[in-house]
Symmetry: C2
Subunit: 123 residues, 2 copies
């Protein structure tokens, strides 16, 4: 069983966190069975935390969890903080494979997406 | 003459700001002539500021500047801070059209992009 965990920074604004939850829900409907479970977690300021999100996926039966950072730059959060949070749960569940995927901002398509947003104003 | 201004938050990490500058450079090469000028600006912590970025585009001859926020959520920065910065320059140049486009995170394709990042680990 495979799980996908979308990890966002988390915000004091409830709406921003709900935006991530909505996105995750839409994503869950689009995986065509590639993942049995799609959930989100937050680095700070919102629940669940990354360890709690990982534990929930594992308790639901996930043997592999892919963590995809919903971040735009390869800053400290992506390079150090998220890996450290993952390591906490790796030690608790050494038999479960937890893999951090490239962060969102690394996607080559980001330029096309920005251009598309810019062109929305002409509609 | 039309300009596109990619507006990012800005970071204390030079590499994060350079990542935005690189992205903007790549974007500039992909517009197929839709914009005569593609530059970036930062809300805080990096240069140029949003007003300075707008002024530079206008001095280069832009009659219309589209501002696209490189932000993932519709927080205070997108809803209030960026519009306030734009207004400063609107007052200086009332004949120039400055339009704020939808922020990046509003793009429907975000889910597909996250899924793609997750699947990079299988390569």
């Amino acid at each position: 069983m495979k799980a996908l965990l979308v990890v966002a920074h988390g915000s004091r604004r409830v709406e921003s966190n709900d935006e991530v939850r909505d996105l995750t829900g839409r994503l869950g409907a689009q995986t065509n069975g590639a993942y049995d479970l799609v959930q989100c977690a937050f680095l700070e300021l919102a629940e669940p935390s990354i360890p709690d999100g990982l534990r929930a996926a594992i308790r639901s039966g996930a043997q592999q969890v892919v963590v995809v950072p919903y971040f735009l730059s390869a800053g400290r959060h992506v390079v150090a903080d998220i890996p450290a949070e993952i390591d906490v749960v790796r030690k608790e569940y050494p038999d479960i494979e937890i893999i951090q995927a490239p962060y969102l901002g690394a996607a080559a398509e980001m330029t096309a997406l920005l251009l598309q947003q810019a062109q929305q104003i002409h509609n």
